[in-house]
C-alpha cells in the first residue's frame, strides 16, 4: 500500500491533491463532495476586498439613486433587513465548512488596501481557517512604478499580515517576476510558509467585429503545467517554504510530475470544473496505480526527486527553447 500522505503549511494531509480556489468551494454541499472524492484540503474561493467595496458602493448607489427626489416615490426598493455585502458571508462559510468537513480549510484573500488585507486576514483566522492563502495580484500600468517598489509592497504586506495572524500563510504568485527566486526568498523571509505557483487570471480578449474588449477565463490544460513545473523544480530547497503547484494538473501523471518537481501538494480546479468533482477520486486512484506500477512507496519518497537540484542535468531547467535544438554532450568523457 503506497503512502500518499504529505504535509503542506505544517498541515498533515492524507494525500497531495488539494482543491484549488474555485467556485466549487462556495457551497457547503460541494465542499463535502470534494472531501468525499478524496481532496486532502480545500482552498476556498477568494474573498476580494475590491469586490466587497464595489458591491457595497454599488448597492448604495442603486438603492439611493432616484430616492427622496420625487413626491410619489421616496424610494424604489424595499428596505431589506440585511445585505451580505461584507465579508460576513465568507466568514460564516468558513465556520460552516469547518463543522461540515474534517479536511483543512484554507481561506483565500485578495485585498486592495493594507488595512483591508490585515483586517480580513484576522477575521478569517478568527472564523477558524486552518491556513490562509494570499491571492496577490496587482497589474501595474503606471510607468513610474518600478518592479522593486512593487515587490517591496508585496513583501511588506506579507510581513504586516504575518504580524497579525498565527495560522500558516501561503502566497499565491503570478509568474511575472523578473527574479522569481529572489522574490520568493524575500516573501518567505517576510513570513510566508508556502508558495503557490501560479495564479491564473482573466485575460482580456478582443471582439474584432463588435470592437469590444471581452474578459475571458479559459480553463487550464495539461500543457500549461510546464511553467509551474519548472519553477517548482527550481525553487525546491532554494526557499524554506512549502510549495503548491497549480495550473495544468489534469491527469495522475501531471500530479506525479509536480510532486517529483518538488511540490508538497498540487491544487486542482479546472479539471474538476470541466469533468466533475468525482474526477478527484479518479486522479487519486490513478496516482496510486502509477506509484504501484513503478514501485514507489510514498509521496515523500518522490517529492523533489526531479527538482533542479536533484536531477542529473540541472541546466535543463534553465534552458530556453532554442537550446533544446542543440545536441547535448558530456565533456567529462574527454579528460
Amino acid at each position: 500500500m503506497v503512502d500518499l500522505s504529505t504535509t503542506y503549511l505544517g498541515l498533515p494531509l492524507k494525500n497531495p491533491l488539494v482543491a484549488a480556489a474555485s467556485p466549487l468551494s462556495k457551497k457547503e454541499s460541494t465542499v463535502r463532495r470534494l472531501e468525499d472524492a478524496g481532496a486532502s484540503a480545500v482552498v476556498m474561493y477568494s474573498l476580494f476586498e475590491e469586490q466587497i467595496t464595489h458591491e457595497s458602493l454599488a448597492l448604495d448607489y442603486y438603492l439611493s439613486r432616484g430616492t427622496e427626489s420625487y413626491a410619489e416615490a421616496m424610494t424604489y426598493f424595499p428596505d431589506m433587513e440585511k445585505y451580505n455585502v461584507g465579508p460576513e458571508e465568507y466568514l460564516n462559510l468558513i465556520q460552516k465548512l469547518k463543522k461540515a468537513v474534517d479536511i483543512p480549510i484554507i481561506a483565500s484573500l485578495n485585498g486592495i488596501s493594507t488595512g483591508g488585507w490585515v483586517e480580513y486576514a484576522r477575521k478569517m483566522e478568527q472564523a477558524g481557517a486552518d491556513a490562509l492563502e494570499l491571492n496577490i495580484y496587482y497589474l501595474p500600468t503606471d510607468t513610474n512604478l518600478t518592479g522593486q517598489e512593487l515587490e517591496q509592497t508585496y513583501v511588506n504586506l506579507v510581513s504586516d499580515i504575518r504580524r497579525q495572524i498565527h495560522i500558516p500563510l501561503a502566497v499565491k504568485l503570478s509568474p511575472y517576476f523578473t527574479a522569481l527566486p529572489n522574490f520568493a526568498r524575500r516573501l518567505v523571509q517576510a513570513g510566508a510558509n508556502g508558495l503557490v505557483l501560479f495564479n491564473r487570471f482573466f485575460q482580456p480578449d478582443l471582439d474584432i467585429e463588435m470592437l469590444e474588449v471581452v474578459p475571458r477565463l479559459e480553463l487550464s490544460t495539461s500543457s500549461e503545467l510546464r511553467l509551474p513545473l519548472r519553477w517548482v523544480a527550481i525553487l525546491y530547497k532554494r526557499v524554506e517554504a512549502d510549495l503548491a503547484l497549480t495550473g495544468g494538473v489534469h491527469t495522475p501523471e501531471d500530479a506525479i510530475k509536480s510532486i517529483m518537481a518538488g511540490a508538497n501538494v498540487v491544487q486542482i480546479a479546472s479539471e474538476l470544473l470541466s469533468n466533475g468533482i468525482n474526477r478527484m477520486s479518479e486522479l487519486l486512484v490513478g496516482m496510486r496505480q502509477w506509484m504501484e506500477t513503478f514501485e514507489y512507496e510514498s509521496v515523500a519518497q518522490m517529492m523533489g526527486s526531479m527538482s533542479q537540484q536533484a536531477v542529473a542535468e540541472p541546466a535543463a531547467f534553465e534552458r530556453a527553447n532554442y537550446m533544446k535544438a542543440l545536441t547535448s554532450y558530456d565533456n567529462r568523457l574527454y579528460i
Binding site: T53, L57, A73, F77, P78, K82, Y83
Partner: protein
C-alpha cells in the same frame, strides 16, 4: 415600558399602531398613503409581531376596490383587518365601506387625505376624498398632527372595537403624512391597555364560520329593508360617547387629552373658527398668538366628524361666541355650502332649539374653503378669517389662500403676518433630488429630535420632474414641540442653504432669509472669488439683509471622497457646524452615528466613504467677507423666454419659477384644458454632458434618434440651399437616403433640453476604425457647447421637415425623419418608456387621440407646469387625456366609439348631401385609401375642399357635417399605460376592450413594477425579482398578458424591446396601427426601479431577449387569412443564461445579497418559467393551420 421620543412622519407613526393592532392588512399603493403599506410590508417581512405575538399578513391587491373587498372578507371571517389609502383609492372602497358599516364590522381605514381628481389630478392633500365617504356609515376621525395621527390610530382602533362602528382615521396627505416631527411613541403596553381583548373575542364570535353558521349579505325587499337599516341607530348614537370615553382613557394613560371637538382659545371668545386636519393646528397657534395680543378668539378642532355629535359641539363652543367661520378643505360645487359648514349650521340651529347650546343668541356662521391640494394655510390666512368675522357683514362662502379675481370669493390676507417664535430656528435648503439633500435633512431632524431636548420638524417640497428635480426642505427646531404645519415664510428663515450653485440663476431663494441670518452656498468658487459670480439679486439680498455668508466647495469634497454628485453629508456637516445646534464634535459624532444607522447595512465601504466626506468638510467651509456694494453684471434668468406665447409667459412661467401660488383664478383654464407643446419653453439645462455628433463617422442609421427618451437628438434631410444661412458651427453631410436624393443630412442636439442620459451614445453602432472608443456620437461637457448648439438647434428646427409622402417610415432610419410630437418630458434621464411613446407620436401623432392611464406616463406626459405633447408645423398633434388609473382602456374605447360614430354619421350626411357637395368628391372621400401617409394627406385635402363647400350650403345638415367632417380622416386611438394598469387595476377593462374587437391600439409600457409610486410589485413583476410587497423576491412568475390576449384570436399582439430589436419594434407599431381591430403592444421598458445603470438600459433589453425572459413576437390575426401561422417569433433560442441578464439588475441582485438560498431557488424556477414558455411559443409558432371554409380542420 417607557415611551420613547421619536422623530418620524405620520405615515410611519400611524402604520406603527395599525400594524401592531391588526392581523390582516390588504393594501394597494397610492400616494401619499403608500408609506403606511410599505412600512407594514417591511415589518411583516422582518417578522415583527403585533401585540398578540403574531406577525400580521400583508397582501397587495390589484386595486383599492380589491383591497376593500379583501378587508371585508377578512373582517367577515373574524380577523382584525385594516387598509391604508387615499383619494381615488378611497373612492374605490366606498361600495365595500357601505357593506362593512352596514354589517357593523369594526375596522379602521387609515387615510392620508388627498384631493380627488376633477379638472386635474392632484396627489396633494385635502379632504375631498374623505368627504365622499360621509354617507357610508363609517365614523370619520381627523388628526391634525403627527402626534395626533399616532394617538388617534389607537383611539380609532379601540373605539371601533367597542362601538362596532368602522372608522376612517384621516390626516392631511403630505402636510401630515409626510411631515417629520418629534413625537412620544406609544408602547405596546399602551396598545394592550387600550385594546380590550374581550372585544377582540367578540369579533371572533361574530365571525362567519361553518362551525356556527349564519348568513350575511342577504337581499331584502321593501317590507323590511328600511326597518333593518334603522336597526343600527343605537350603535351610531352610542358611538360619540364611546369615542370620548376612549379618549379619556387614553388621556389617563398618556396625559394627552383629546375631545371630539377640541376647543382652544379664550374662554370668552367672540369669534371662533371651526375646522379639522392640520389647518386646525395652525389656527390654534394663531388664536393663542392673537389672544396674547388682546384679542378674544378661539378654535374648534373637529376630531370626530362622523357620527356628528351636536351635543359635544355645543359643549365646545363658548357661551360668548358671536360669529363662527367654518373652514372646509374641500369643494362641493353647487352645494348650499361645504359639508362641515352645513353640519355646523344645522348643529347650532338644533342646539339652540334643544337648549343644548351655552350661548343664547344665534351666532353668525360663515363658511369658507381653504387649502385644496395642499395649498398653504398659514397664520396670516387664519388671521384674515378672524378679521373677517369681526366685520359687520362678513363674506360667506369665501376662499382664503388664493386670489379669486373671477367671483371675488377670496379674503385678503397680509403675507407678512407671522407668528413664528424667536426661539425657534428655521432653515430652508434648496437641493437637487439626486444630491441627497432631503435624506440628509431627514437625518438632521432625527438627530436634533432624538439627541437634543429640542422639538423638531421637517417638511419637504418636490417639483414634479423625475430628472433634475429641485427639492426644498423646511426644517424647524426649538425648545417646544413644533406646531407649525405650514412652510417657512418669506423673511422667516434663520438659515438658507443652496446646495446647487446653478439654482441661484433660477430661483429667488433669499426671500426666505431673515435679516441677520445665514446663507450657505455650495460653490466651486472659493471665499475670495465667489462674490463676482453671484447674480445681482443674490448680492443685494445678502447686503440688504446683512446675511452671514458661507461657502463650501462640496462638489470637490464629494469628488475627492468618492461621493460623486451626492453632497448630502457634506452640506449636513456644514449646517451643524454653522448652526451650532450641537457642539461641533458632538454634531460630527451624531452625524457619523446616523451614517452608520442609515448606510451600515450597505457595507463598511459606504460608511467609510461618508465618514471621509464628513471629515474633509470643515477644512473646506469658509465664511465670505461680504463687500458693501452690489457689483454683479449677471441677473437671474427669466423662467421662459420672451418669444414664448403669452399663456406660457404669464401662467406657466411663474409656475416654473415656483411662483405659481401667486396666479389668480382668472389665469387658469376653467375646465382643465391646456395648450399643447409647452415643454419646449422650459429650458432646464440639467445635463452636465451632452452628445456631440461626428459626421465623418456617422452611417445615418437613425438609431440615436430612435432611442432618445427626450426627443433631444434629431435628424433631418433637407435641401442644400438652406445651408447658406447656417450658423458657423452647424454640421452637415450628404444625405444617404435613397428616396431623398441630392439632399443634406444633419443630426442635431437640443443642448438645453438634453438630460445627458447617453442612451444615444450606447445605441450608436458606428465606431472610429482607428480608435474604437470614439463613436459617431460622444458625450462632451455641456457648458462650453451650450450657446453654439442652442443657435444650431434653433436653425435646425426651422429647416423644413421632409415630405411624409416621399418616403415610407418602415425602416428605423426613415421613421426617424418624422418629427417627434412628444418632447422634453420630465421623465427620468434615460427613461425606457418614453422612446416608445415618442415613436407613437412620430408615426401617428398627427392623427392620434391618446388615453393615458395614471402613472409615470401620465405624470411626465401631463404634469404642469409644462407638458411634452407637441404639435407639428401644420398645428396637428396628439390629443391627450388622462381619466383615471383603472378605466384607461374603457376611456380609450369611448374615444374610438366617438370617432367611429362620427365617421358613420358624417358618411351618412355626406351621402345625403351628395348633390350639393358633388358626387365625385363624395365618392372619393368615402372610398379613399387611407392606409398610407400619402393617402391620409390626400383625404385631408378632400375634407378641406368639402368643408369649403359645406360652408356655402344652407342646409342645416351641412352645418352638422361641418362639425364632424374631420372624422372622415382616419384617426388612431392609442391607449397607453404601465403594467400596474394593464396587468392589475385596469385588467378587467383592458380585457373587455380587447374583446370588443374595436380598432384601438394599446401600448403597455412594461417596467414590471409600479414605477410612479416607487416600485411596488405588479402581476407583471417576474419571479425572483425583489419589489415592494415582494421583498423576499416574487415567488410566482409574471403573468403572460400577451398570451392571454392571443387566445381571443382576433387581437393583434406584439411583444417588443427596442434595445434588442428596433426594427421589430417599428414593425409592430406599424402593424398594430394598420390592424383594423384591437392591438396590444407590450413594450419592455427599462426603469430606474430595476436598479440598473440607466445608460445600459438598452443593453439590458438585449440581454433580456437573449436570455429568453423577454421573447419577442408578433401575433397578427391577418396572417390566418393568408393561411399562415399568425404567431411570428422574432427571437432565436435563448443564448445566454438568465443570471447573465438578471444579476446585472439590483432588483434581482439584492435578493442574492440578502437571501442567497432563496435567490437561487427562485432563479431555478425562473429558468424553468423561461424554458416552459419558450417551448410553448416555439411549438405554437410551428403549428400549420389548415382551416376550411365551413369550419373545422382536417
Amino acid at each position: 415600558m417607557t415611551r420613547q421620543m421619536v422623530t418620524l412622519d405620520a405615515n410611519e407613526a400611524v402604520a406603527y399602531v395599525a400594524y401592531r393592532t391588526n392581523e390582516v392588512i390588504a393594501i394597494y399603493p397610492i400616494t401619499p398613503s403608500s408609506g403606511m403599506g410599505e412600512h407594514s410590508d417591511a415589518w411583516s417581512a422582518a417578522n415583527i409581531p403585533n401585540i398578540w405575538g403574531t406577525v400580521p399578513t400583508v397582501v397587495e391587491m390589484q386595486s383599492e376596490g380589491g383591497a376593500a373587498g379583501a378587508v371585508h372578507g377578512a373582517l367577515t371571517t373574524g380577523a382584525l383587518a385594516t387598509t391604508f389609502t387615499a383619494s381615488q383609492g378611497l373612492l374605490l372602497m366606498i361600495p365595500n365601506m357601505y357593506k362593512i358599516a352596514g354589517e357593523l364590522t369594526p375596522t379602521v381605514f387609515h387615510v392620508a387625505a388627498r384631493a380627488v381628481a376633477t379638472h386635474a389630478l392632484s396627489i396633494f392633500g385635502d379632504h375631498s376624498d374623505v368627504m365622499a365617504t360621509r354617507a357610508t356609515g363609517f365614523a370619520l376621525l381627523a388628526s391634525s398632527s403627527v402626534q395626533e395621527a399616532h394617538d388617534n390610530a389607537l383611539i380609532a382602533q379601540a373605539a371601533a372595537l367597542e362601538s362596532r362602528v368602522p372608522f376612517v382615521h384621516f390626516f392631511d396627505g403630505f402636510r401630515t403624512s409626510s411631515e417629520v416631527n418629534k413625537i412620544e411613541q406609544l408602547t405596546e403596553d399602551d396598545m394592550r391597555a387600550m385594546i380590550n381583548d374581550e372585544l377582540v373575542l367578540a369579533v371572533r364570535q361574530r365571525a362567519l364560520s361553518p362551525d356556527h353558521p349564519a348568513i350575511r349579505g342577504t337581499a331584502q325587499n321593501p317590507d323590511v329593508f328600511f326597518q333593518a337599516r334603522e336597526a343600527c341607530n343605537p350603535f351610531y348614537l352610542a358611538c360619540p360617547v364611546i369615542v370620548q370615553r376612549v379618549m379619556d382613557r387614553f388621556a389617563s394613560l398618556t396625559g394627552r387629552q383629546y375631545r371630539l371637538f377640541n376647543y382652544t382659545g379664550a374662554p370668552d371668545a367672540e369669534r371662533v373658527i371651526i375646522l379639522m386636519g392640520s389647518g386646525a393646528e395652525t389656527a390654534e397657534e394663531t388664536a393663542l398668538y392673537l389672544n396674547n395680543r388682546g384679542e378674544k378668539v378661539g378654535v374648534v378642532n373637529v376630531h370626530l366628524y362622523r357620527p356628528f355629535s351636536m351635543e359635544h359641539l355645543m359643549q365646545a363652543l363658548p357661551a360668548t361666541v358671536k360669529s363662527i367661520a367654518v373652514l372646509d378643505r374641500t369643494k362641493e360645487p353647487g352645494a348650499a355650502g361645504e359639508p362641515l359648514y352645513q353640519d355646523v349650521v344645522t348643529a347650532v340651529n338644533e342646539g339652540l332649539v334643544a337648549g343644548k347650546a351655552l350661548f343664547q343668541k344665534t351666532p353668525r356662521i360663515i363658511g369658507g374653503r381653504y387649502g385644496l391640494s395642499s395649498k398653504e394655510f398659514t397664520p396670516a390666512m387664519v388671521k384674515a378669517v378672524f378679521d373677517e368675522l369681526a366685520k359687520d357683514r362678513p363674506m360667506n362662502h369665501f376662499t382664503v389662500g388664493i386670489y379669486d379675481d373671477v367671483t371675488q370669493s377670496s379674503l385678503e390676507y397680509d403675507p407678512q403676518f407671522s407668528i413664528e417664535a424667536e426661539d425657534v430656528v428655521r432653515c430652508v435648503f434648496f437641493g437637487l433630488g439626486a444630491d441627497g439633500t432631503v435624506g440628509a435633512n431627514k437625518n438632521s431632524i432625527k438627530i436634533i429630535g432624538e439627541e437634543t431636548e429640542n422639538g423638531a420638524q421637517g417638511y419637504f417640497v418636490y417639483d414634479s420632474k423625475k430628472s433634475g428635480s429641485i427639492t426644498i426642505s423646511h426644517l424647524r427646531f426649538g425648545p417646544r414641540r413644533i406646531r407649525a404645519p405650514y412652510l417657512i415664510g418669506e423673511g422667516d428663515a434663520n438659515f438658507v442653504a443652496c446646495h446647487q450653485f446653478t439654482f441661484l440663476e433660477r430661483l429667488e431663494m433669499l426671500k426666505y432669509a431673515k435679516p441677520g441670518g445665514v446663507f450657505l452656498l455650495n460653490s466651486i468658487y472659493g471665499p475670495d472669488e465667489v462674490w463676482d459670480h453671484l447674480p445681482v439679486e443674490v448680492q443685494s439680498a445678502i447686503i440688504e439683509k446683512k446675511l452671514r455668508f458661507f461657502v463650501i466647495d462640496g462638489y470637490n469634497v464629494a469628488e475627492k471622497t468618492g461621493m460623486g454628485g451626492r453632497v448630502n453629508t457634506i452640506m449636513q456637516t456644514c449646517f451643524f457646524a454653522i448652526s451650532g445646534v450641537l457642539p461641533r464634535e458632538e454634531a460630527i459624532e451624531q452625524i457619523k452615528k446616523s451614517i452608520v444607522k442609515t448606510y451600515g447595512k450597505r457595507g463598511e465601504a459606504v460608511v467609510q466613504q461618508n465618514f471621509a466626506a464628513v471629515d474633509s468638510t470643515l477644512a473646506n467651509l469658509h465664511e465670505v467677507k461680504v463687500p458693501e456694494k452690489v457689483t454683479s453684471k449677471v441677473t437671474r434668468r427669466k423662467a421662459v423666454p420672451d418669444a414664448a406665447p403669452e399663456f406660457v409667459r404669464e401662467v406657466l412661467g411663474p409656475m416654473i419659477a415656483f411662483e405659481g401660488d401667486r396666479l389668480p383664478v382668472s389665469a387658469l383654464p376653467v375646465d382643465g384644458t391646456f395648450p399643447s407643446a409647452t415643454s419646449q419653453w422650459e429650458k432646464r439645462n440639467i445635463a452636465l454632458e451632452i452628445p456631440v455628433w461626428e459626421p465623418d463617422l456617422c452611417i445615418q442609421c437613425g438609431k440615436c434618434v430612435f432611442v432618445c427618451p427626450h426627443a433631444v437628438i434629431r435628424q433631418k434631410v433637407y435641401d442644400p440651399k438652406y445651408l447658406q444661412k447656417a450658423p458657423p458651427t452647424f454640421k452637415s453631410i450628404d444625405a444617404k437616403f435613397k428616396e431623398l436624393p441630392g439632399m443634406k443630412y444633419t443630426i442635431q442636439v437640443a443642448p438645453e433640453d438634453c438630460t445627458g442620459c447617453a442612451l444615444c451614445v450606447e445605441a450608436c453602432p458606428a465606431k472610429d476604425k482607428t480608435q474604437v472608443g470614439r463613436k459617431a456620437i460622444n458625450m462632451a461637457d455641456q457648458p462650453p457647447l451650450r450657446e453654439d448648439e442652442r443657435i444650431n438647434w434653433e436653425f435646425f428646427l426651422d429647416l423644413p421637415d421632409p415630405d411624409r409622402s416621399a418616403f415610407e417610415p418602415t425602416t428605423v432610419k426613415n421613421s426617424q425623419l418624422l418629427t417627434p410630437l412628444f418632447e422634453f418630458s420630465g421623465a427620468c434621464a434615460g427613461c425606457g418608456e418614453t422612446p416608445y411613446v415618442k415613436l407613437v407620436s412620430q408615426l401617428f401623432g398627427d392623427r392620434s387621440v391618446i388615453a393615458n392611464a395614471t402613472g409615470c406616463s401620465s405624470i411626465y406626459g401631463g404634469n404642469l407646469p409644462t407638458t411634452p405633447w407637441s404639435v407639428n408645423k401644420e398645428g396637428r398633434g396628439p390629443a391627450w387625456s388622462n381619466s383615471l388609473f383603472e378605466d384607461n382602456a374603457e376611456f380609450g374605447l369611448g374615444m374610438r366609439l366617438t370617432l367611429d360614430k362620427q365617421n358613420e354619421y358624417a358618411s351618412e350626411l355626406l351621402r345625403a348631401l351628395a348633390d350639393e357637395v358633388g358626387q365625385t368628391l363624395v365618392e372619393e372621400i368615402l372610398s379613399a385609401d387611407q392606409s398610407t401617409d400619402a393617402g391620409i394627406a390626400a383625404q385631408r385635402e378632400r375634407v378641406a375642399v368639402l368643408k369649403q363647400k359645406l360652408s356655402q350650403i344652407s342646409d342645416p345638415r351641412a352645418r352638422n357635417l361641418l362639425g364632424i367632417a374631420d372624422a372622415l380622416v382616419r384617426k388612431s386611438v392609442w391607449i397607453i399605460g404601465g403594467d400596474g394598469w394593464a396587468y392589475d387595476i385596469g385588467y378587467g377593462g383592458l380585457d373587455h376592450v380587447l374583446a370588443s374587437g374595436r380598432n384601438v391600439n394599446i401600448l403597455v409600457l412594461d417596467t414590471e413594477v409600479y414605477s410612479n409610486t416607487g416600485g411596488q410589485a405588479s402581476k407583471s413583476t417576474p419571479r425572483a425579482a425583489v419589489a415592494k410587497f415582494a421583498a423576499k423576491g416574487k415567488g410566482l412568475p409574471k403573468k403572460d398578458l400577451g398570451m392571454l390576449a392571443i387566445t381571443y384570436g382576433y387581437v393583434y399582439v406584439a411583444r417588443v424591446a427596442m434595445g434588442a430589436n428596433d426594427q421589430q419594434t417599428l414593425r409592430a407599431f406599424l402593424e398594430a396601427d394598420a390592424y383594423e381591430g384591437p392591438s396590444l403592444i407590450i413594450a419592455y421598458s427599462h426603469c430606474i426601479a430595476h436598479g440598473i445603470d440607466m445608460r445600459k438600459g438598452l443593453e439590458q433589453q438585449k440581454l433580456a431577449v437573449q436570455s429568453g425572459i423577454w421573447p419577442l413576437f408578433r401575433y397578427n390575426p391577418k396572417l390566418l387569412d393568408e393561411g399562415k401561422n399568425p404567431l411570428i417569433l422574432d427571437t432565436k433560442d435563448p443564448s445566454i443564461s438568465l443570471e447573465e441578464y438578471a444579476y446585472r439588475e439590483t432588483r434581482y441582485r439584492m435578493l442574492l445579497q440578502s437571501d442567497e438560498a432563496r435567490a437561487e431557488a427562485l432563479m431555478r424556477s425562473a429558468r424553468m418559467d423561461v424554458e416552459k414558455r419558450w417551448q410553448l411559443y416555439r411549438q405554437m409558432a410551428e403549428i400549420e393551420y389548415q382551416l376550411r371554409e365551413n369550419g373545422g380542420s382536417h
